[in-house]
Structure formats: structure tokens, C-alpha cells
């Protein structure tokens, strides 16, 4: 039973590591800030959760697992706020590659605002 759990934990840790690596690759490869936010903020969430599950399975009966739950919870609650602020600031200061946006419905909206 412990062996099976160990293997699952191993899988989770490796999966999490892979996703974190992918986040790094995306950060280097993607062209503008908004695209980069997708990889920096997102596979990292699943990656972190997988790593936490992996660690949690290893220390299962230990009550300190509570800390892992807190890490996951606060990550889920705070990442959206940070991502939104960074995305908003990036868009408003023009750090967006407009040639890479197929559709941009916010630009029209902002143009209407300033025209009013």
C-alpha cells in the first residue's frame, strides 16, 4: 500500500516539476507579457498543486499536512489578484503586441471611454 502511494507521489512530483519547467520555457519563448502570464501563472498552479499532493502523500498521517493545504489555498486566492493587476497594467501601458491579437474588444471599449 505504501509502495503504491509512493509511486503516486513520485508521479505527482515529476508531473509538477515538468509543468514548472514548461512555465519556464513559456516565459522565455512567448512574445509579450500577456502571453507570458499564461505560462508563468498557470501551469505553475497545477504544477504546484501536484507537488503539494506529492509531498502530502509522502507525509500523509502527519498533521503538518495542514500547512500544505494552506499553501495551496493562499496560492489559489492570491495568484488571480496578482495576475489581474499585472495584466491590467501591461495592457494599459501598451505592453501588448497588437499584431498578435486576432480580436481585441477592449481597445474599442477604451477608445469609446476616452472619446466620451
Amino acid at each position: 500500500m505504501t509502495a503504491v502511494l509512493d509511486w503516486i507521489a513520485l508521479g505527482c512530483l515529476l508531473g509538477g516539476a515538468l509543468l514548472s519547467f514548461a512555465a519556464g520555457v513559456g516565459l522565455v519563448r512567448f512574445p509579450d507579457l500577456l502571453s507570458r502570464m499564461h505560462t508563468a501563472a498557470k501551469p505553475q498552479i497545477l504544477g504546484l498543486l501536484l507537488i503539494l499532493v506529492g509531498i502530502g502523500l509522502r507525509m500523509a498521517p502527519d498533521p503538518r499536512v495542514g500547512i500544505l493545504v494552506l499553501v495551496a489555498l493562499f496560492q489559489l486566492l492570491t495568484v488571480p489578484v496578482a495576475a489581474h493587476i499585472a495584466g491590467r497594467a501591461a495592457y494599459r501601458t501598451g505592453r501588448v503586441r497588437r499584431d498578435l491579437l486576432a480580436i481585441d474588444e477592449l481597445r474599442d471599449e477604451l477608445a469609446e471611454d476616452s472619446g466620451r
Partner: protein, 196 residues
Amino acid sequence: MTAPSDRPRPPARLRVGRRAVHLPTLGVLVVVWAMLYDEVSAGVLLSGVLVGLAVLLAFPMPAVDSTLRLRPWACVRLLARTAVDIVLASARVLRYTFAFGRVPHSSVIRVPLRTRSDLMLTGTAVALSVVPGSVLVEVRYATRTLFVHVLGAANAAAADAARADVLRLEERVVRAFGTREDIRLLEAAGGERGAR
């Protein structure tokens, strides 16, 4: 304040001098405090209450309009669907990441939400931000409109699909946490507002 009929009972409060402490918030803080320790003992709980009281008195929070209901079954559905979405969307972002030599095109789409509630708006925005592939760029509070950057949405069809996804997410959030009024509004609006 405006809809007293929607409020079953006033929230439990403890008056300390001129400030009021919201007891459920204190309870949550004590639970978080206890989770930081190896074991739950009287000392941990007592220090948790003291620290919680100090935090709440030092940083008074504005009262949230807490017209929130928890529907267990809908919550489970929301969590399960979001978990599946996170995995699927992570795979999609992963594919873009390793498609070397191709730069992904994206879209910024406008999604007018159907809900009128602050909490539902916040819940939808948070759930949306947790799922990969979408970054919130702007929130229009007055019209309850979200502007979402969707990675890889290179044409109108993909943008419409992403918009429908956001509206479905909103529906799941409202069904999990919304009041009856919220759900009624959602059903009255149907899917029409999303199809602009």
C-alpha cells in the same frame, strides 16, 4: 443594506470598544492558525483567538454584503469541473509552449456577465484566473463585464467558444454560491447576453 429581506439573520458580532469583530471571520482565522501547528491544543487555540482578535481589531475590514449560500452538490460540481478544466487547459498551454517556431495568436474578448452580485463577480473572476489559458485584463464593475485575454484564440470562432466557456463558469459559480435571486437572474438572462 438595500435588501434586508434577503438576509436571514444578522451576522454574529462581538463588540470590543467601538469596533465590532465578525465572529465567523475570527473562527476562520483560528482554524488557519491551528493548521500551522503540528497538533491542536488549548494553547494553540487560545493564542489563535488572541492573534485573530488583534488582527481583526488592527485591520478592520469593510463589511461584505454576504448574501452567500453554499449548495454542497453544486460546489462539488464546480470543484470537479474546475479541476478537469485546469488539467485540460494546462495541457493546451503546454502544447503552445512546446510548439517551437510558432508564435501563438491571442484575443482579448469582452464577456458581459449575467450576475449582479459582487461576490459572484469576484468568484467568477477568481475561478477564471485559476484556469489556464485565460488572463483577466480588465473588469468593468459598472456593467459587470470581464475582459479576458485568451491564449491561442486566433479567430472569431475560438473567441466565441472562449466566451461561452466563461459564461458556463459563471453559471457554475452562481449555482454553487448564489442566492435564489442570483440563480433566477441567471436563468432569466439565459445565454443571450453572451452572444454578442
